[in-house]
């Protein structure tokens, strides 16, 4: 895991980020997945901010500005409006926020299982790869030479 930057976030920032994460990737009974504000996932997000910590804090400052104070204290409709306005912006800071949330959400065991994926690292088990249909290459074999022969290599 990356460095633990939890101390970089104030309690208010943590509260705002958690509520924002719930809007970004909400829990879904239909898909059988927790939201990004789930305690385990959110804990992973905060622990793993690493190189994105500065950008995430900058976006939270923008969110507070848009909310006119504590984002976490807004009612549901106001909060959703503020969150979606922020997330509709473009730029590296918003991308960093997305990366910080998604890189942890899409490694959670429950999310992986809901997607039909094994919750594990690639090594050491690896993956199987279909051999594919090599007869398709028959259409290319035996074609005339396409590369330019110069300097008498095959003359």
């Amino acid at each position: 895991m990356t460095d633990d930057p939890a101390s970089d976030l104030t309690p208010i920032e943590r509260r705002d980020l958690r509520r924002l994460a719930a809007f970004m990737v909400p829990a879904s009974a239909d898909y059988g997945v927790p939201g990004a504000d789930d305690a385990m996932i959110f804990g992973d997000i905060v622990r793993s901010l690493g190189r994105d910590a500065g950008d995430v804090r900058a976006t939270l400052a923008l969110l507070r500005e848009a909310a006119g104070g504590d984002f976490a204290d807004l009612d549901e409709a106001q909060a959703e409006t503020a969150a979606m306005a922020l997330l509709g912006r473009e730029g590296p800071a918003i991308e960093a926020l997305g990366r910080a949330v998604l890189q942890c959400y899409y490694r959670d065991d429950r999310v992986m299982r809901a997607l039909g994926l094994e919750p594990r690292s690639p090594f050491p088990k690896g993956h199987a790869l279909d051999p594919g249909d090599w007869s398709l290459l028959d259409a290319v074999r035996g074609r005339p030479r396409m590369w330019r022969d110069v300097d008498g290599g095959t003359a």
Binding site: Q103, S121, F123, D130, W147, D149, D151
Partner: protein
């Protein structure tokens, strides 16, 4: 190691070596291995570390996240203490590299094509840039030797590629490859299994590929042929010494204008002097000109080996648009090497097009679950909020992506200089990159994007998107100390020796005259082996 004071300085001096190699990457490893049979005392200084198999991201659940952290391809983002910063603000293409034993091969895709014979005759055939002072057929035995040392998977008989015999079976097509093959056949276009430096069967004690995912962030299995596990073990067994965490600050010269050694910082940060009879630069197309420019002196006021003024100029980076789409069928996702098929349909110059030279289409697999989400959210494909989960399930394992490997031609204004402000952790001036795309390159890119869209459409892909302004950065760093026979128009001669300093050689991608439309590692290493052979043949008169 001796610690005698170097004359005239307070810094400790090490025992003199016959050959000092700077950089333990693709070319440094190859030249070290080849020269080892001379029994000369050979030392390589590398600013980075050895990377252990257990260090690689695929060992952990955070394997995708670490591609944006300590295994990011950008030295500025990665920012390990063994990295140096690069000011690439004035370049559409950002710099990618890796600093450690293995260099860029630690973080490469292992896509391993050779340059074509026509790539060495660009002026003669197409009337642009310059011909190389050597040709493909001179290098061919070294390509073959390099393939044996590396272990290259592929398939002989490609009608669009010079004859060769890959040493290992091709990577399986998989579902994604089969989809591309059908689409190419529908269009009547060329496609073929690409040369890829992945052990598809056990080779030289290296285990076979088990499909850990994309090869770029390193291979925990050791199936990807990075030179830390191919050339370096053989070179070390043959007696070459490799010192890590040793960052060279400058190459020194004596009163005859010959290289006398280097000043470097050792693993403890102590400034030392390493004397040498001969110095070989293998620090890549950014690191090498940076070091030459940082080695300016009274005798060489514009930088070492720079009487031509070409050190740092003619930088080529391979513009590399990526065109993505999504198909209905479930594919392999990111569960295997990212690319193992190419199309050379548009590689050679065609007078009917509005550009000269050409490009390779590289057919890519999809990505892992987090990467799919991160890149799709960043591009606006994947929404936040209530619709997130529905949309995501139509993306994961449905992505197809084609990379357009464009040849950019040498232009003097594309260059590496020393940044007046930015420095590395030892206070050494960092490189600054100025790079723009030429009209020829832009036309080639547009043609390549249209071709990729055509084949993706033939594959049934929807929701197509192409990168034009945020180009993939392949980390191909070429051309900044080019080779040639005329000292006024080149930095090194036709066998890698600097025109200005006869015991200073360059073996990395800096010496390339033109860039071809292929990943460069195979050709870089073949050139390094060729130069090593020329050195060995001339030992008695090497510095004449």
């Amino acid at each position: 190691m001796a610690v005698d004071a170097h004359p005239g300085t307070a810094r400790p001096s090490d025992a003199i070596v016959d050959v000092l190699i700077i950089g333990a990457g693709a070319s440094g490893a190859a030249v070290a291995w080849s020269l080892a049979d001379t029994r000369m005392k050979i030392l390589c200084l590398e600013q980075g570390d050895w990377i252990r198999p257990t260090d690689f991201p695929s060992n952990g659940r955070d394997w995708e996240a670490r591609r944006y952290a300590d295994f990011d391809i950008s030295p500025n983002r990665r920012a390990r203490d063994t990295d140096y910063p690069v000011n690439d603000d004035n370049s559409l293409m950002k710099i990618a590299n890796f600093n450690g034993v293995g260099g860029g091969t630690v973080l490469y895709t292992a896509h391993y094509p050779r340059m074509h014979p026509s790539d060495f005759r660009v002026r003669s055939l197409d009337g642009v840039a310059d011909d190389w002072p050597i040709d493909y057929w001179t290098l061919e035995p070294y390509f073959a030797e390099n393939d044996r040392m590396t272990g290259v998977a592929g398939l002989a008989g490609d009608p669009a590629y010079p004859p060769h015999q890959p040493t290992l079976p091709a990577v399986p097509l998989g579902r994604t490859g089969t989809l591309y093959a059908r689409a190419a056949n529908k269009l009547g276009w060329h496609w073929w299994p690409s040369d890829i430096a992945v052990a598809t069967s056990e080779v030289d004690g290296r285990a076979k590929c088990i499909n850990l995912g994309h090869c770029t962030p390193g291979c925990a299995q050791g199936a990807k042929a990075s030179v830390d596990i191919t050339y370096w073990p053989a070179a070390l067994r043959a007696g070459v010494e490799l010192r890590t965490r040793c960052r060279v600050r400058e190459i020194t010269t004596d009163d005859r204008g010959m290289a006398s050694g280097v000043v470097y910082y050792d693993a403890n940060g102590v400034e030392r002097f390493q004397p040498a009879e001969m110095v070989i630069l293998a620090a890549n197309g950014i690191g090498t000109p940076r070091l030459l420019l940082n080695s300016a002196s009274t005798r060489f006021p514009n930088g070492l080996a720079n009487s031509s003024g070409l050190v740092g100029r003619n930088l080529m980076l391979h513009p590399w648009p990526i065109v993505s789409g999504y198909v209905a069928d479930e594919l392999d996702g990111g569960r295997a090497p990212i690319t193992s098929l190419w199309s050379k349909q548009f590689y050679e110059t065609d007078a009917s097009r509005d550009f000269v030279r050409g490009y390779t289409l590289q057919f890519g697999r999809g990505t892992g679950p987090a990467t799919e989400a991160i890149t799709s959210a960043a591009s606006g494909r994947l929404p936040w909020g209530r619709d997130h989960h529905r949309v995501y399930r139509g993306l994961l394992n449905h992505r197809v992506a084609i990379g357009v490997a464009c040849e950019d031609l040498p232009e003097a204004h594309n260059r590496v200089t020393l940044d007046p402000v930015l420095k590395d952790s030892h206070g050494i001036p960092a490189p600054r990159i100025d790079y723009t795309l030429s009209d020829n390159t832009r036309r080639m890119m547009e043609h390549g994007i249209a071709s990729a869209e055509e084949i993706l459409t033939a594959a049934g892909a929807k929701n197509l998107s192409a990168s034009r302004t945020v180009l993939n950065s392949p980390g191909h760093l070429l051309g900044t100390a080019r080779m040639g026979t005329d000292p006024a128009r080149s930095v090194v001669n036709e066998w890698g020796r600097c025109h200005d300093v006869k015991n200073l050689f360059i073996v990395d991608g800096s010496i390339w005259v033109t860039s071809g439309g292929v990943n460069p590692t195979s050709t870089i290493q073949a050139l390094a082996l060729y130069i090593a052979d020329r050195i060995k043949q001339r030992l008695a008169t090497l510095f004449d």
